[in-house]
């Protein structure tokens, strides 16, 4: 059972790392600020979600698991709201230019 859990952790955390990498590649390759925002929010959110999912079987108790999920939810919330603010700022700047 332990081996199964550990394998799941390795797989999920590695997959999460791939999405973080993809998000960063998008940040470097995408042509404009708004496209880069897509890369940052969507790929990194999924990356963090997979890292959290992978770490759940390693949690020493339900409270630790709950903490991991809460951190993910807070990151989602912050990501979504900051994205909105940055997108509006970019739009304002484009209108002024």
């Amino acid at each position: 059972m332990r081996v199964l859990f550990d394998s799941f952790t390795v797989l999920a955390v590695s997959a999460g790392a791939v999405f973080f990498l993809a998000g960063t590649v998008g940040l470097l390759r995408f042509p404009d600020s708004l496209s880069r925002l897509h890369a940052l929010t969507k790929a990194d959110n999924l990356g963090l979600g997979l890292v959290v999912l992978g770490l759940l079987p390693q949690a020493t108790g339900p409270l630790v698991a709950l903490k991991l999920i809460t951190v993910w939810l807070l990151a989602q919330l912050a990501g979504a709201i900051v994205t909105q603010l940055v997108a509006r700022a970019v739009r304002r700047e484009n209108q002024e230019a």
Partner: protein
């Protein structure tokens, strides 16, 4: 964004007190989950909970949103699948050597009236595959940035908004 930093008027002070108590309890639980229980942390926790409750009441006065628990559950169940699709879509485009992007804007006429519920929907839509609302046009429609304007973004947003509206509405 219609954000007001005034404290909500105390026309319905019992409602305000009930809202404040519920939220403070929620923030206490959040603190305990994130920081754990320790007597030495009590002063910091008290300041954090009081501050969070105050800001929360300023930004979203009690009774502003009508929330349907069943609708929220449906939204929450739908979210992981959407997050996976959004992440895979962006990752695929970013890692493809040809960089298959057709970035551009589409206009979407939301059914939600301007207000905090619409702001909430915009934040959620920015986590959905391919769409990023960037603001409101003069005619009240939403300007949405898309990674690929060939995708049916408006239909997707309409479906998302329908699910969102069953969960949260301005009261």
């Amino acid at each position: 964004m219609a954000t007001s930093w005034r404290m909500p008027m105390a026309t319905d002070s019992r409602n305000l007190l009930a809202g404040a108590t519920t939220r403070a309890a929620g923030f206490c639980v959040l603190w305990l989950v994130l920081a754990g229980y320790s007597l030495g942390d009590l002063p910091a926790a008290a300041v954090a909970v009081a501050g969070a409750t105050f800001v929360s009441l300023c930004l979203l006065p009690p009774g502003r949103w009508r929330v349907s628990p069943l609708g929220v559950a449906r939204l929450a169940l739908r979210f992981p699948g959407q997050a996976v699709m959004a992440g895979v879509d962006v990752a695929r485009r970013a890692l493809d050597p040809r960089l298959p992007l057709r970035p551009g804007f589409v206009t979407y006429a939301p059914r939600l009236p301007p207000g905090s519920a619409r702001d909430g929907f915009c934040a959620l839509a920015s986590l959905m595959p391919g769409t990023l609302p960037v603001g409101t046009n003069e005619d009240g429609t939403l300007l949405v940035h898309c990674l690929d304007i060939g995708q049916p973004a408006a239909a997707q947003l309409a479906a998302e908004e329908a699910v969102f509206m069953r969960a949260v509405r301005d009261g």
